[in-house]
Symmetry: C2
Subunit: 499 residues, 2 copies
């Protein structure tokens, strides 16, 4: 008996978020949708994460319209989104009424599978979203953020899975956003979940490719009983992105596992994004190949570049190694939060402050809030001295309750505020857009009628190898590019010289 | 009990051969040698393959001097080379006396492990080299070229391993030069060899990374009992190269297998080659990421670009798909040779001829020789009609004997010819260099005294992220590069424009 492994395709969301700074225009995704819809994926991740923010901030595109477009173009597919629990797609905690309306509207506009996570793995921040998804009759996937610390064992992850199942989640996702999940850990956790919660509990595994080892981890997760894994079509894969869909298919040949993906469809999807990707050169991550230092530092790549930039602004670029030593200490003081947005930035910035100005001489208000429980409960005990300093600076005591429990109903005030904005159309979707990103939404509503921007740029150089028939075998005239290097634009001209 | 997996590091040979067209100067490898020597590798591949040719053709460097340098700088390491059996490092068959002298001299200059292969897996072409290695008291690693065809089963590979063991090989290498080895096949073949030949028979597995799946194959090979695997330090890995050493180390954490590699050494080796690699931008392979089409076409990437270029020269660039269909037919007619140098070029060129001019209307002399047995015995039966055409064109009958059996002793004539060359130093090493590449050697001897060329070029753009302290944040003046694009050189100038 060959077991079918379900595949979630990431090319419409996390792949371009990880590789192209979430800048891909809807117009560049539309031509691939017919093949994506026919390829045989279990689900197609296409919304949520940073795409909502990027749509209104960079692309002048209505994210709700994007969702409706995918719904229309992918009639046979489960649409999937990533939802930050009580933060929804924004960066603060929302009151439960807003959470309800957001989930209702996402479901109404076509979303099928909601992958719900919390950066601290605080299940109280996940609960209300999951209940809202269930109430809508949609698929609620409860998510465990994988991290490495002295407190995080197979047992702690399995326990969290058990609580997510009790909450009524339709499936469990083990989410490895930093590519730290090694093969044996993947095996042990998935096996543990299946043993504890029952073979019938669906387990999906999400990994990034950064460290080069996680395709093996997916193999081991599958051997342990995982039902589904996430991949991205090869032309939008690897580096800080994900493992290639086609490699996963090949990996399973003859193993007793198989996917039900159509290779011809995959080939056309690959070719499409291979043509699209170079247009976004200016936004490409500068990580390529693999980076295994993350295993030792446990500091994700994006966090390192943030900290380096902060140090340089203070003319202290040479002190990065001190910061590397400080990060684990700050993380321990805070009770070992997973390092993922926003906790990675909060911990990293505080480590930089500590190195430059002395330990906790200056505390960011975000770090104080993290210590005081305003992001939720961190996995371990927080350092009592640092906690006292945080309370003194923030002029408020630590809280034990779920952060959203302190919030008053806010829907009506959001609705009122949104209704005054020029260009707002009075829909509940617009109110939600405003709720997520008040300033950005206001600017977006104002310009919305101008229609979406397309930030991709055709590479101007002609690749003769790609041209059919008898192509010219060299560039015939000077060609000029605008290239971005270290954040500044340069004009590059290429002129043929004698061969 | 944790089993130690032996690692062969490829950074000094196959890694830069696959990624940088074998152009890396010895000078760019020397600074890494102390760490490579201390890292705990089972062996360090550093010679053979295309490096000998590249040394004299492109780098004006004596390959024997390179070997002696590695011997001196890697006193604690097993040095390893790749040897094309009866072809040695050249492109024709050599008489046994030349094979003996080559192996003697390589051993005398410091080589420890000889990985010996034949492109057709004809063991008769491997035998004499293996015996010469054994006579020198060195490690003879008999090699199986992995390929996919209706004739190649687990059983055929296991049988070949059995015959290599009978020949006296100290270990067996399963060599996957085209990244076609999927996990289950890796498991089955290694398991089969261990079962048939005994657990005590050492098995090493060599894979390339091109298809994105072979790190999983290494995991499965290890689970089946493989004793050693090949990897390349991460900064010289992936694409058409190999799996990253550091990822392999991480992969084994907690699995019951381990390497004995020193992470600090690996880190320094990585940093060294991360700094060196950009200097060879002009020679970099244009394959990046993964390419899984190879699984369907079984046509290696290098072979496709060759065929495309041949078609374009005939203004028939649009007929590549016909060639893709013709390649497997030609391969079948020839008895399913593995597609590896030189058989890949021979089969590919004939397929192009067949498409352009009709099937076998024109036959290359190399293809006729392949059909007639002058490269050795192909795995399967050859098509009798095509065989007859080959004999008619070449005016010679097919042979059944080992090709080298037809050769007369040639050492003395090679010695005489080499001695007349300007700049030759009278050493047996020089005679061997001449024997491998007569024309190129003559030109090299002439210019040898000028010393090695260094083809690497410092990237002239300053990366402020790499500079310590407060670095300038932009390029200050126009910078000019010479870049190679589709085989022609172009001058590129980069001038800052307003940000």
């Amino acid at each position: 008996m060959t077991k079918t492994i379900d595949i979630t395709e990431l090319c419409l969301r996390d792949a371009h978020q990880s590789l192209l700074a979430t800048r891909m225009a809807l117009e560049d995704m539309v031509p691939a949708c017919a093949d994506i819809d026919q390829a045989g994926y279990w689900s197609v991740e296409c919304w949520g994460g940073a795409t909502f923010d990027a749509c209104i901030r960079f692309l002048n595109e209505d994210p709700w319209e994007r969702l409706r477009t995918f719904r229309a173009l992918l009639p046979n597919s489960r649409l999937q989104m990533l939802l930050r629990g009580q933060n929804l797609l924004g960066y603060r905690h929302y009151e439960d009424g807003v959470v309800d309306r957001f989930v209702d509207k996402a479901a109404e506009n076509g979303m099928d599978v909601f992958r719900v996570f919390d950066a601290l793995n605080d299940i109280r921040n996940i609960r209300h979203s999951v209940l809202a998804v269930r109430r809508n009759g949609k698929h609620a996937q409860g998510t465990i953020c994988y991290t490495v610390s002295p407190l995080h064992t197979t047992e702690t992850f399995v326990e969290m899975a058990e609580r997510l199942v009790e909450l009524g989640c339709d499936s469990i996702c083990l989410k490895d956003m930093a590519a730290l999940l090694k093969p044996q850990a993947a095996y042990d956790i998935v096996k543990g979940i299946k043993t504890r919660c029952g073979e019938g509990v669906r387990v999906h595994v999400h990994t990034h490719a950064t460290t080069g080892v996680t395709l093996v981890s997916l193999m081991k997760a599958i051997e342990a009983g995982a039902d589904g894994v996430d991949t991205a079509i090869s032309s939008l894969s690897l580096g800080p992105g994900h493992n290639p869909t086609e490699s996963l298919v090949a990996m399973l040949d003859g193993t007793g596992y198989q996917t039900q993906l159509n290779k011809d469809c995959l080939h056309r999807i690959k070719d499409h994004f291979a043509a699209v990707r170079p247009r976004y050169q200016a936004f490409m991550s500068n990580i390529y190949g693999v980076e295994t230092d993350i295993f030792d530092s446990q500091i994700p790549g994006g966090m390192i570049s943030n900290m380096e930039s902060q140090l340089k602004q203070q003319n202290a670029g040479d002190r990065i190694n001190e910061v590397f030593i400080e990060v684990p200490r700050v993380r321990e003081d805070a009770g070992f939060p997973p390092l993922v947005t926003p906790s990675s930035q909060i911990v990293g910035t505080q480590a930089v402050f500590n190195v430059l100005m002395g330990r906790y001489k200056v505390m960011s208000s975000e770090f104080a809030d993290l210590m005081l429980g305003f992001y939720g409960k961190t996995p371990g005990e927080r350092d009592p001295d640092v906690l006292a300093m945080a309370a003194a600076q923030a002029h408020k005591p630590a809280i034990e309750v779920r952060p959203a429990d302190l919030l008053q109903p806010e829907w009506e005030s959001l609705q009122t505020a949104a209704s005054t904005l020029s260009g707002a159309n009075g829909s509940e979707e617009d109110v939600l857009t405003y709720a997520m990103f008040p300033q950005v939404a206001a600017a977006f509503f104002e310009k919305r009628a101008q229609g979406p921007l397309k930030l991709g740029r055709e590479p101007k150089a002609i690749d003769p190898a790609a041209a059919p028939g008898s192509a010219p075998t060299s560039i015939q005239a000077p060609v000029t590019y605008d290239v971005k290097l270290n954040g500044r634009s340069h004009r590059v001209s290429v002129t043929p010289i004698a061969p």
